[in-house]
Amino acid sequence: MSKKNIIIIGNGMVGHKFCEKLVSKTDQYQITVFGEEPRIAYDRVHLSSYFDGKTIEDLSLSTKDWYLENHIDLILGDAITEINRTEKTVHSHSGITKPYHYLVLATGSAPFVPDIPGIEKEGVFVYRTIEDLDKMKAHAAKCKSGAVMGGGLLGLEAAKALLDLGIKETHVIEFASRLMPRQIDDAGSKLLQGKLSQLGLQIHLNKNTSSILGENEIKGLAFADDSKLDLDMLVISAGIRPRDEIARLAGLEVSTRGGIVVNEFMQTSDKDIFAIGECALYKNMIYGLVAPGYEMAEVAASHLCNIDKQFHGFDMSTKLKLIGVDVASFGDAFVSEPDCTSIIFEDTHKGIYKRINITNDGKQLLGGILIGDADAYNMLLQTVNNKIVLPPNPEDLILGARGGEAAAGSGVMTLPDDALICSCEAVSKGAICDAVTSLDINTIDGIKKCTKAGTGCGGCIPIVKDLITGTMKENGVYVKNVLCEHFDYSRQELLDLAKMNKIKSYDQLLDTFGKGDGCEVCKPAVASILASLWNDLILKQDTIQDSNDRFLANIQKGGTYSVVPRIPGGEITPDKLIVIGQIAKEYGLYTKITGGQRIDLFGAHLSDLPVIWSRLIDAGFESGHAYGKSLRTVKSCVGSTWCRFGLHDSVSFAIQVEDRYKGLRSPHKLKGGVSGCIRECAEAQSKDFGIIATEKGWNLYVCGNGGSKPKHAQLLATDIDSETCIKYLDRFLMFYIRTADPLTRTATWLDKMEGGMAYLKNVVVNDSLGIATELEAEMEYHVNTYTCEWKAAIENPDMKKRFNHFVNAPEEKDPTVKFEGMRDQIKAGAW
């Protein structure tokens, strides 16, 4: 029996999902796909990330091989122009004619472009395909100002994209009186407007564009209220229009407002023709999100396999992906009193607005809006969807519990098994918990692979994490803070074990206390433990080091390395500056002053590292440990030697401190600072340890950092002399090294410490644990055993050999390394 033909028109997100669903259910069809775009289906939802570094491959949802393996004929770059329903054939633009038994329309939608005079001008764009983005990118290079027409979900995303493209002056023009009119209320919109202004967007509401100005190229906009705005580019985001043109031609039932009419099986008015995704109109509704499209694909594929499944509409809750502002709406966001009771929380100072609508009997959550802080989105959405009975004080849902109790509301484990956790891939709570229980999966990666949950928009990942730990706890698995699957111990426990048993190598520790062959999580963690304990040369066990530690340099885009010599306290002689300049010139390196007050040389070939370093060492430099989880820099201000306000010599003290702790391996990197007075030009309070001169001595601050979650350091001791300061620092640093989890900065370590700063002060200053002498002795050992790793590496020919790119062609460099020119220097070739 020959197979029946199914033809799918459109290789977008939903068309591709349909193919996946169909081949997973049956092999009784011969499948052909026509796609108008020149490439395989890609992730349109994350289209904007194309502007911040994602490539076409990253966004791609599949591969040609997948289509080959599944015997699907894929014809790309060719649109279907006609459906002949009497002969049951389709005709393509390039002249192909193909017969079908069943036809699936997955043609998606196109941006709606309003009919405004001048809309055809150069510099006016839509935002839907990779080609659109390429065109925008090319044009944006010469633009200073730009605007997006439309302040809805997509419009705001496009506006963020303009900022990412480097357009400094970006406007959003909205016809309605508020942003995201379909998702959020007036109050929420005001708050969002404030937040977006901080991001650098200029918002114009109630603006009706009357024409687009300029000769051939756009120069500006004119509005109905006679105002004008000068512009170099415009992105139209005024809504979508379902692509129903071929359906319309073929006489299928379509709505006057656009959209191919379908029933609950996704059948059009011709029962052999289906429509799914954004082109389909179900009960007068177009679903402009990917999750309902995937559900439609499931329903249509099931129907074609005689499995009974129906489409009954879909939840349209959304979380905006704008970076810097959380915005989410869920369930019925707009019901208002007297049909419900609304609880509103507003903090204009922090820019937070939360509204939940609950039934008048206070039992159920109907929906709501979150702006500025959408952490609770997943849980609230689940509460609505699963009709979970609310706790007695529903305001706790948005305020968090007060009075130090655990967060109120219902934990993830109280959700029913059929609660939809990942709506993109339609994965239920039951499926996730089942994978944890019966397949013993306990990582996000594992769950992604086995259930596909979290592989779409990624919004459900936090809740998936909670489900994994929750299920493990329920199964009686004691969820311990363990290093990884190879060691059932925390970092602190392992450090103690290694110390007590005098274990000096990774293999020895793994044989005695671990299992399996190790991995990229436990190897560097153990390497750091061993280095902190014994201060042995890390190159002796180079293969357990993170790549950067292994080659004593930071790997860069393209596979070259950076070279960062230590410049203690940021002080450098003219002679040393000259040497750096000469070396950089000779080896063609890009040079830059770092944020840590020293000089970074980028673009060194692996095999050049030893000679570059031997030159630097000859000139008196040492490794800067920029690659290690160890002391980086102790930043200084110029201090009393020159500065009219300086109280003490902060440079000398910074150099002394940096020299003492250089090369000290720790759970995460360590940074310090010394300022000569309270004006704090060395930013000491944003460091793991910061020292600030006072009239009487130094104030010592600890546990601060910059980075993504900045934290100011807290005062540990006041008006102490230099000796006491070093003593406290010795104790503080060693105590941190002994007790912190891997990759935990001092601030996070303190956060988790019971008793907090008061406890730490007690240990360090009052020696409450009676370990102060021990800690000081350990630090003394470190100081006495310090050697420059690079010096050791270049002196040993065996170690030097490790830096060749090819083992079998030691003199050859990696030929795939590419540089481009920029401002008289080089930069790495793009990914």
Partner: protein
């Protein structure tokens, strides 16, 4: 297994090309429990000396994630109860099975793998076209 090795043993020196065996390097050229990169005509092959398991593996050197020639500089280890051997790319830690080449971080990529034969301290990579 043992007897196969012995046959190869005698033939290797003279029939390298015929056997599609490519002499890569000496075994002590590759760090213990680590990798190195081998140049094979226009290509780059990563070779791993998994001392802990007493096994050798070879894969393409190119990481499919961002097309970086880097896998030889990655960290090796194992995953799961059956100790699937793997390598993690130094750039973004995507990890790959050294046996099947499958990506173990949930992506669709796959890398090429090659059989490795070590004989008298000489390391050969078997290349099938």
């Amino acid at each position: 297994m043992m007897s196969e090795m012995l046959i190869l043993d005698r033939e290797i020196e003279s029939t390298v090309e015929v056997q599609n065996l490519f002499f890569a390097c000496y075994s002590d050229d590759v760090p213990e429990n680590g990798g190195a990169c081998v140049k094979y005509h226009g290509e780059q092959i990563a070779i791993f000396n998994f001392t802990r398991r007493g096994e050798w593996f070879a894969t393409q050197n190119l990481c499919p994630h961002k097309q970086q020639m880097a896998l030889s500089r990655g960290m090796i280890g194992s995953v799961g109860d059956d100790c699937e051997p793997k390598v993690a790319c130094p750039f973004h830690k995507k990890s790959f099975s050294l046996k099947s080449g499958d990506c173990l971080s949930g992506d669709d990529y796959k890398i090429k793998t090659y059989p490795v034969i070590v004989n008298n301290g000489r390391v050969y990579i078997e290349i099938k076209d």
